[in-house]
């Protein structure tokens, strides 16, 4: 029988140490569990401070006793290696475990056990927990804003259609893969714009503006099948002809008046809101800021001095000011810069402002990618006789963009997280709707539920985006 050193656990008498140690740990955890789940204090006979810290002390002793190296017991060795390397680590481990145990009951009761979801008024919320009834009643407002209830199918339809069209890339066969970039950069944004414009907005502007859009879109799509020789003439003439013919031959204003082709009811942008507005704003800003940022990055690396300095000035200006002042500028200062009879919708102004703002950040990210490319790539492209644009489109940018996927994803994440800011200029996306709902006299005092709800939604969106970008990064990673 070896001698037992309590102060120095060793591999002799291994099981005595292990049994005592785990017994002590078990007791300490049991004490905390009883304390937090059943509100029974097992150690009431002790003074308050001691009773409070007792599980910590006991657990610490237990972990000390089981800290024996190279026991040959797989789980014990793993435990010691991962959470029990030294005294300090053991203490932190215990604190974290106890903190988790202590927070489970209150959060569980707030989220589920004592929460209410039934009923349709404030009176239904009798529990001490969250009042999910509030979210249930207001969910339409949180998702669609002040958009009329009867018209909300338009938003649903547009989003579902855009989602379906957006997922085309997954199903494209190899034959069509080369057209994907074109599809996502030109055609898809165009379709998305048409959807927003025709469906979500609707109304009379539809006819003022849409001829041009249709003509433009159609001519681009047909343009791909036109022989190269007459392409220039084609693009000079056809869009205008199409526009005129559409306006004066196909869609007579009279036919519309006769009710044969009645447009959808017009919903002004002031009524848009909620989560759908968050999506609309971030989607368009995302689409616009990317090409602008790319040109700015190229401009900043350009050999032409004037272009370089203009790009630097532009980028540094937008990066130096907070978004909130940019939004203020777009809403109060920008109208002063426009002709008096010229009206530009607030939402459009805000989208332009955010796009320019984020474009500066995208530009800096892309510049990083351009700088990371070795000089040999430029030289090789030039030696093949490529010009500036050919070199960048076919050689430089594909490689540079691959490098900066994480950076661009971060910028896009920042963009999505910045969209709630538009509430300072009176556009109420989901956070703005929450702020409005909580001042409703019938539903006072539920701000917590609202913010938790929005936080969960944003968290899911952003977390999914960051995971997706991580996957993209792995997918396009090429070893040099």
């Amino acid at each position: 029988m070896n001698k037992l050193y309590l102060s120095k656990p060793n591999i002799n008498n291994l099981y005595i140490y292990i049994y005592t140690g785990f017994f002590l740990i078990f007791i300490s955890i049991l004490d905390v569990v009883f304390n937090s789940f059943f509100e029974i204090n097992l150690t009431t006979f002790l003074p308050t401070t001691l009773s409070f810290t007792l599980p910590l002390i006991i657990g610490f002793l237990g972990l000390y006793l089981v800290r024996i190296e190279f026991t040959g017991i797989k789980y014990l060795d793993q435990l010691n290696k991962n959470i029990n390397t030294n005294n300090f680590n053991a203490l932190l481990t215990l604190i974290i475990i106890f903190a988790i145990i202590k927070t489970i009951p209150p959060s569980l009761s707030w989220f589920i056990l004592d929460a209410n979801i039934s009923g349709d008024s404030k009176e239904a919320c009798t529990g001490t927990g969250a009042c999910w009834t509030y979210i249930k009643i207001w969910i339409r407002r949180f998702i669609y804003g002040m958009y009329p209830n009867a018209e909300q199918w338009r938003i649903n339809l547009s989003f579902i259609a855009l989602l379906a069209l957006g997922s085309v890339g997954y199903f494209a066969t190899d034959k069509f893969k080369k057209y994907l970039t074109l599809y996502y950069v030109v055609i898809y944004p165009f379709i998305a714009f048409l959807f927003i414009f025709f469906f979500i907005s609707g109304g009379p502007i539809f006819f003022e503006f849409s001829y041009g859009m249709i003509a433009f879109g159609l001519s681009i799509i047909i343009g791909f099948f036109v022989p190269k020789k007459i392409k220039l003439w084609y693009f000079l003439l056809v869009p205008i002809l199409l526009y005129i013919s559409l306006k004066y031959f196909f869609f007579y204003e009279e036919t519309i008046d006769l009710g044969k082709l009645s447009g959808l009811n017009w919903v002004e942008t002031g009524a848009w809101g909620g989560l759908s507005l968050t999506f609309i704003v971030s989607f368009f800003c995302l689409i616009f800021c990317f090409p602008v940022g790319m040109f700015l990055a190229l401009g900043r690396r350009s050999e032409l001095l004037l272009i370089r300095y203009i790009s630097i000035g532009f980028i540094e200006f937008w990066r130096g000011v907070p978004l909130i002042t940019v939004l203020f500028m777009s809403s109060v200062m920008f109208p002063m810069f426009l002709p008096e009879d010229f009206f530009m919708d607030k939402l459009v102004r805000v989208i332009i402002a955010i796009s320019l703002f984020e474009a500066a950040y995208v530009a800096e990210v892309i510049r990083g990618g351009l700088q990371a490319l070795p000089r040999g790539q430029y030289d090789a492209a030039k030696s093949l006789g490529m010009g500036y644009w050919k070199m960048h489109i076919f050689v430089i940018l594909p490689q540079a963009l691959k490098l900066v996927i994480p950076g661009i994803a971060n910028t896009f994440l920042a963009l999505v997280k910045d969209t709630p800011l538009i509430l300072v200029v009176g556009l109420l996306e989901i956070v703005g709707m929450l702020n409005m709902a909580k001042t409703n006299p019938e539903w006072l005092g539920f701000s917590m539920e609202g913010y938790v709800f929005a936080a969960i939604i944003f968290w899911i969106i952003c977390y999914a985006m960051s995971k997706y970008s991580y996957n993209l990064e792995l997918k396009y990673k090429t070893d040099r």
Binding site: N82, I83, T85, L92, I310, R319, T325, S447, Y451
Partner: protein
């Protein structure tokens, strides 16, 4: 010749487009302002502002000028930025190091902290703290003192204020201590380089920091009193704390949200910096016989800081710019006071928005200039 023209033409086109756009804007602005009867100019800055501000670091009321109001807002912005930077740095460094801990639980906890706080919009976090969390605090008359002197209420945090006598002597002593510590450090380094002897610099410095200011209390006539906030009844149901220092809930919510949010980014910078040091460096340091804390101090940290500092400064800048979200919870920062209230009163959109933007721009540009200079000075000098 051909190549030269090829270079000049795009530049000319870009320049003319930029000039055209600006000219168009300027022309329209002129017409619009003429129609509204406003004249461009900064004379309004000296006019009486006639609005009050809830929280101000300098003396201010409605009789002061708009320029003074601007200064109040600027100081409040800088205050939030300063406090936020300190807290976020402390928290960020702790979390960043915790991310590298060998303890699985600690590493996971830190990772979840980062994932949680950086994926929720900052504005939402500010609203959460201000409208949901801090509103759950007790009223002034019901609040329990924390450690006897702090009162955390729905109207803010009330802490004791210091009342100094002969503060200048105390400050002089602190300066003297700092200078002597620097001298001792240089001397100790020289001693080590020349003779290999090591001085216990840390203990000497600590002793100096404690002893010399203490002496000023005993002999220099310096004295310090605390004024503890006292509950005072204003009306039947209205109470407020008097004396002491009141920190408004807006400031608490804002700094809390900003620090928690920015700390996640700083933590990632710290982690990347420490991970960026190759294992060989540590092993090399260990093989020449340095102790673990010496390895950290002399080998790892100097190299890691080179990686950590530039992105961290970027985060400080972001924090300063994000502090403008204060306007959403009515904390009187430069955006709320100047681009909000003052703009509404004077209607001078162009001047006020440009001043506000220029202020932020100059803060950002000066800090990045400083950073570039610093970066150059610590960059590895290659032959």
């Amino acid at each position: 010749m051909n190549a030269k023209i090829k270079k000049i033409i795009p530049q000319l086109i870009t320049l003319s487009i930029v000039i055209l756009i600006f000219g168009f804007f300027a022309f329209n602005a002129q017409v619009n302002m003429e129609n509204r009867g406003i004249e461009f100019g900064f004379g309004f800055l000296s006019q009486e502002s006639s609005f009050d501000v809830q929280f101000s670091l300098i003396e201010y009321d409605g009789s002061h000028s708009y320029a003074r109001a601007y200064l109040v807002g600027l100081l409040n912005t800088l205050l939030v930025a300063f406090i936020g930077i300190i807290f976020s740095t402390i928290l960020g460094v702790i979390i960043g190091i915790a991310r590298l801990s060998s303890n699985y639980l600690i590493e996971r906890t830190a990772a979840w902290y980062v994932e949680f706080f950086r994926n929720i919009p900052l504005l939402l976090q500010i609203f959460f703290w201000y409208f949901a969390a801090l509103r759950a605090l007790p009223l002034p008359q019901d609040s329990e003192p924390i450690m006897g002197v702090f009162f955390l209420t729905i109207k803010g945090l009330f802490i004791p204020s210091f009342i100094w006598q002969n503060l200048n002597i105390f400050i002089y002593s602190i300066i003297a201590v700092l200078i002597s510590i620097i001298v001792i450090r240089t001397y100790a380094r020289k001693l080590q380089e020349n003779q290999g002897k090591q001085l216990p610099v840390l203990f000497i410095s600590l002793g100096l920091i404690i002893i010399l200011p203490l002496l000023t209390f005993l002999f220099g006539g310096v004295s310090l009193k605390f004024q503890i906030p006292v509950l005072k009844q204003l009306a039947a149901t209205s109470f407020i704390y008097e004396g002491g220092l009141g920190i408004p809930p807006e400031l608490i919510a804002l700094t809390l949200a900003l620090s928690l949010y920015t700390a996640t980014f700083i933590a990632e910078c710290v982690r990347a910096g420490i991970q960026g040091i190759s294992k060989g460096q540590k092993e090399a340091a260990a093989s020449i016989g340095l102790k673990p804390n010496q390895i950290l101090k002399l080998v790892v940290m100097p190299q890691a800081l080179r990686i950590i500092i530039p992105p961290t400064t970027n985060q400080y800048l972001n924090l300063t710019k994000n502090s403008s979200l204060a306007a959403a919870i009515a904390y009187p920062d430069i955006v709320l006071i100047f681009a909000g209230t003052a703009l509404m009163q004077t209607g001078r959109a162009i001047e006020i928005v440009s001043i506000t933007m220029l202020t932020y721009l100059s803060i950002s540009l000066s800090i990045s200039a400083l950073m570039n200079w610093y970066n150059k000075s610590i960059a590895i000098k290659e032959k």
